[in-house]
């Protein structure tokens, strides 16, 4: 669809500049999209790997916790786990990837998981909490990677829409408008020549008479 512009040389020059800029932008956005896609796939692979590790660790921890639950009356277990030794501290940082802001959680301080006496708790509880405590950094890494994947997928979608808009709407429209202006200017040129030729003819006829 051509743009609603006056078909003159000024507009033609302006449109040609815009077309060149749009083509350069399109190329850049395509490159960005490809790079985002490559990063996205890398993060998806990493997330899959991390999720498997976390799942395995959680399975082990829950298995141990079940064994502990088997031999420990609920009141002792509830009492043993009722009082944490410290607080978990997380730091939020923001990094940039292809100018996309990616938040990142970092474990600043992890409290000691063993906060109970030994008389009423079995060693399976130690094992379970140790595994869970080892799993925590992996879970935080998984959160980071999965959040990055979500942000990258939104950015890829946004970039794809921009690339498509440039490729299938903006550039064709400008190209069509340029063609229209060029045709229009050529027509004007031809009709001008015709008019001049006709004037010349009339003048020659008048001289001959």
């Amino acid at each position: 669809m051509k743009l609603n512009v006056n078909p003159n040389r000024m507009e033609l020059l302006k449109l040609k500049k815009r077309l060149a800029l749009a083509r350069r932008g399109h190329k850049l956005l395509q490159d960005k999209q490809e790079q985002l896609m490559r990063n996205f796939l890398q993060f998806v692979g990493r997330a899959r790997e991390l999720r498997k590790q976390v799942q395995d660790k959680l399975d082990q921890a829950l298995r141990k916790f079940d064994l502990c639950r088997l031999v420990t009356p609920e009141k002792f277990l509830a009492a043993a786990l009722s009082y944490p030794k410290g607080q978990l501290k997380l730091k939020v940082q923001v990094s940039r990837l292809l100018n996309v802001r990616i938040p990142r959680l970092e474990l600043e301080e992890q409290p000691d998981p063993f906060t109970y006496g030994f008389a009423q708790t079995p060693s399976d509880l130690d094992a379970s909490l140790k595994i869970l405590s080892e799993t925590l950094p992996l879970m935080i890494e998984l959160v980071n990677v999965e959040k990055t994947i979500v942000i990258l997928s939104e950015e890829i979608e946004k970039t794809r829409r921009r690339v498509n808009a440039l490729e299938f709407v903006f550039i064709p429209n400008i190209a069509e408008t340029i063609k229209y202006i060029e045709t229009k200017l050529a027509e004007l040129e031809r009709s001008n020549i015709n008019r001049l030729m006709r004037v010349k003819e009339i003048m020659l006829e008048a001289e001959a008479r």
């Binding site: 079940d66 639950r69 088997l70 609920e74 009492a79 009722s82 030994f118 008389a119 079995p122 060693s123």
Partner: protein, 347 residues
């Protein structure tokens, strides 16, 4: 009073109670039961029939656990009430273990300002004002509320550590130490034969606890020698402070386990695989518990008119209650019978 005079009736009573312990056939049925309700049906043929009457689902398990704990306390009281001479005082000390456990749960609940419904509120040995303790504003108030109970002194001594760390752990260690020291004091006052038997059985118990704890300290806590010695249960038969000072420092888990077992049994028993093997630790705990139960059974096989029969019965009862909790929880978690079998300890 002679051993015969003291133990004639008590021994008959305890033998009668021993015959009511869950039999291997009943254990087999319990292990094979498909769910909690079926396991409860099996228990209808045992001493526990009254406890499981109104059980309708696995959701009632916390209630069964509380009832089983109460049953165990009642079993101690029943034996204490028919005992004569020095025996009631000794059983009272064994019974106090449950009071200390309950007090530790109470202190944790107070410290965390959390759910309090699972605390046992009836009197066990001393008058503990449970609700007033839970409402206390400070540890000082708790110490005052504990009045003339034996817990006032250990809590006062551990107060500084509690205030420094903010954790109830030092209070728990102090309570445990007080209990064991008082128990050993009572053991020291027993007549010679009883003293020898009680020292042996309770000493083995302390050894087994210390072995397990030391392995846990080494594997998970990375505690230094001074902390290990501070947390040790006193009165071990073979595992004494000097022995720990010799074997604990500078060893890895596997060599520590071998050193501890060699110190107690002469060598590492074949049932216990090396620590680095996957089930090493689980097997060690299982082996130690089984060994202890065997020692209790042996005590029942000797001269009957001693305190050995009483200790053996009460500890076997405790193991039985623990096994029942394990089986019922396993049923609630739908674990296969083979796994349940490996989780319970009996001889």
């Amino acid at each position: 009073m002679s051993g015969l005079g003291t133990y004639a009736f008590l021994n008959a009573k305890v033998r009668g109670k021993l015959s009511k312990l869950i039999s291997p056939a009943q254990y087999k049925e319990l292990v094979r039961a498909p769910d909690v309700l079926s396991a409860c049906l099996v228990l209808r043929g045992t001493e526990y029939r009254d406890l499981i009457q109104d059980i309708v689902s696995a959701a009632d398990l916390p209630r069964i656990e509380a009832a089983l704990a109460e049953h165990l306390i009642a079993a101690h009281r029943e034996v204490r009430d028919v005992a004569k001479g020095h025996v009631p005082r000794f059983i009272e000390e064994l019974l106090r273990q449950y009071e200390v456990e309950n007090l530790k749960v109470l202190l944790r609940a107070w410290n965390a300002r959390e759910e309090k419904s699972f605390i046992y509120r009836e009197r066990i040995c001393n008058e503990i004002p449970v609700d007033a303790l839970l409402e206390a504003q400070s540890l000082e108030e708790i110490i005052v509320l504990l009045g003339e109970t034996p817990y006032r002194k250990p809590l006062t001594l551990a107060r500084e550590d509690y205030e420094r760390t903010g954790s109830p752990f030092p209070l728990e260690v102090a309570l445990d130490r007080e209990l064991y020291e008082a128990t050993w004091k009572v053991v020291g006052e027993l007549p010679a034969v009883d003293r020898k038997i009680a020292s042996r059985l309770l000493g083995i118990e302390a050894d087994l606890l210390n072995i397990t704890w030391m392995m846990r300290f080494k594997r998970y806590y990375g505690l230094g020698l001074a902390d290990v010695i501070k947390a040790m249960v006193p009165g071990g038969l073979r595992i004494k402070e000097e022995f720990v000072r010799e074997v604990y420092p500078g060893r890895d888990e596997a060599s520590l386990m071998t050193a501890l077992l060699t110190g107690v049994y002469g060598s590492r028993p074949p049932q216990v695989p090396a620590m680095k093997e996957v089930r090493g630790f689980e097997r060690l705990e299982e082996f130690l518990k089984k060994t202890y139960l065997q020692q209790l059974r042996q005590a029942l096989g000797g001269y009957p008119f001693t305190i050995g029969t009483v200790i053996a019965y009460l500890r076997l009862k405790k193991a039985e209650v623990s096994n029942l909790i394990t089986i019922l929880n396993a049923k609630a978690l739908s674990l296969p019978p083979e796994e349940v079998e490996t989780s319970i300890v009996r001889v």
